[in-house]
Amino acid sequence: MIIAERKPFEEITEMIKGYKNILNVGCGGCTSICLAGGQKEVNQLNAELTKENAELKIDSFVIERQCNYDFFVDLDEKAPKYDAILSMACGAGVQFVAERYTSIPVFPALNTVFCGVDRNVGWFEENCRTCGECVLGDTAGICPVTRCAKGIFNGPCGGTRIDGSCEVDPDTPCAWTDIFNRLTEQGRVDKIIEVKPPRLWQNQVRRVLIQEDYKARYAE
């Protein structure tokens, strides 16, 4: 899931300064689940904004997902009535809204932070940097790109602490120590004996993916 958090209040008020009639659009997808941009958070932000500026007219509207136009039907009717839109989706959703209504300024109310998991209620951890060539099969299900501070593929580096924590933070376990230990437990250390060659990074330009079964459909 995509994890996001609300921008500082001052940054939001600065962005929307001068706009009097705003629609704050929440998202029922990831940002709702990570407690950053669902109905509750939209209402809360709007309450804070009107408290700060009594003149402001700001409405709320939550759609199921801002990353798929199938869910935009109702929003299409509402959006043109406002002079600005605030989006509480992830950066991808904000862009999709902005692309849909190009004549209306669209502002992000959230910072999109990472792709991760829920460790507990309201506690999220980054687990994947969407590198495009997953190596988890060889690394015991522990991502070296995300969890190693240097993102190295032939770890651990020379900085690992004596107690097995990462050089950058004594409270964070060294990803490569964890990889080694789990592979040992599974009897699969041979997976990391060979030198992993320099990787062919794929996340340098915008990626577009069409699943195999749909390629014919979009061929032209």
Binding site: T160, R161, I193
Partner: protein, 307 residues
């Protein structure tokens, strides 16, 4: 001969190598390098020029290496993966070689979070093991990583670092094996204080036949004081400082602690000289370059072989 560097000649002739280290200045003034070089000249076989160590911005290690060359000390050009991508690294290797640099040391690099620009974007496009293989490919196959042919291959003596102490200990010798497989010609270890661990690691390397393929230079840092020993134990990631070192330094009068530190270093050097699988010592006196002549003398490392 792969490179014809002085270090390579000393090692292949079967001598016990003795190398030093210099950090570049935090500014454009090269005077400090020249001063330090004067202490090293004739007392070491070559000297490392560190690359923005601890992620503090300094003069580039290539430029620093060239100053060492001018001063008559063979440089070992350190290159970290933190600050450059594969394009810049290959390009720098060519430039360094063209200007007479013959040794290169491939490192991951201390994380940028430690330095004076903690919000810099770390590059880590390739890692230190991969960097070794890239330079080897350039040297031995005469091609770039991307496959194109070089107009003139950089004949570098390729170095790597090793930490015999960090976790997971059982894996450390395998990481050395990976560096050897990638093409490392010599290895310089982290500062060694825990001699027991070091012996065990070298023993493992001997058993795996690694020391027949790579020259291991053991890292030695003389302690200047009890405070320094405690600081290194508690604050420098990856350092393993056993209590006996601290106790020995505490056991002498305060103003004699530095001398005791040198004594410990000399004892370590003497042991390494007799250790099968250790081909030399890499001396890293932290801001103590002026002591190198004395340490070299007391450790019986002089005169340095001329080959």
């Amino acid at each position: 001969m792969k490179s014809g560097s002085n270090l390579e000649k000393v090692l292949t002739a079967g001598h016990f190598a003795f190398t030093g280290e210099v950090g570049p200045p935090r500014g454009a003034n090269t005077e400090s390098i020249r001063t330090k070089a004067a202490f090293l000249k004739g007392n070491v076989d070559m000297a490392n020029m560190t690359d923005n160590q601890t992620a503090m911005v300094r003069m580039s290690s290539m430029a620093g290496s060239l100053v060492l060359l001018e001063e008559g000390v063979e440089p070992n050009y350190q290159m970290v993966c933190r600050d450059r991508n594969r394009i810049a690294m290959q390009s720098d290797i060519l430039g360094a070689y063209a200007h007479g640099i013959r040794n290169v040391l491939c490192l991951s690099g201390d994380h940028q979070q430690f330095g004076d620009h903690p919000n810099a974007k770390g590059v880590f496009d390739i890692d230190s093991v991969q960097l070794i293989s890239v330079i080897k490919k350039m040297r031995d196959e005469g091609t770039f990583l991307g496959g194109d042919t070089l107009d003139g291959a950089p004949e570098m003596f390729i170095g790597a670092a090793a930490n015999p102490f960090g976790q997971p200990f059982e894996w450390r010798v395998h990481r050395l094996a990976k560096k050897v497989a990638a093409g490392a010609d010599f290895v310089q270890t982290q500062c060694i204080f825990n001699m027991e661990r070091m012996r065990e690691w070298v023993h493992q390397a001997n058993d795996m036949g690694l020391t027949e393929k790579v020259y291991i230079l053991a890292g030695v840092t003389p302690m200047k004081s009890v405070g320094m020993a405690k600081y290194m134990k508690n604050n420098v990631p990856g350092m393993d400082v056993p209590d006996w070192i601290i106790k020995r330094l505490q056991g002498v009068e305060k103003k004699k602690a530095a001398d005791e530190g040198i004594k410990i270093a000399c004892e370590q050097i003497a042991e390494f000289k007799e250790t099968k699988g250790v081909a030399g010592v890499h001396l890293m006196p932290i801001e103590w370059e002026h002591k190198v002549p004395e340490i070299a003398e007391r450790a019986n490392m002089l005169p340095r072989p001329v080959v």
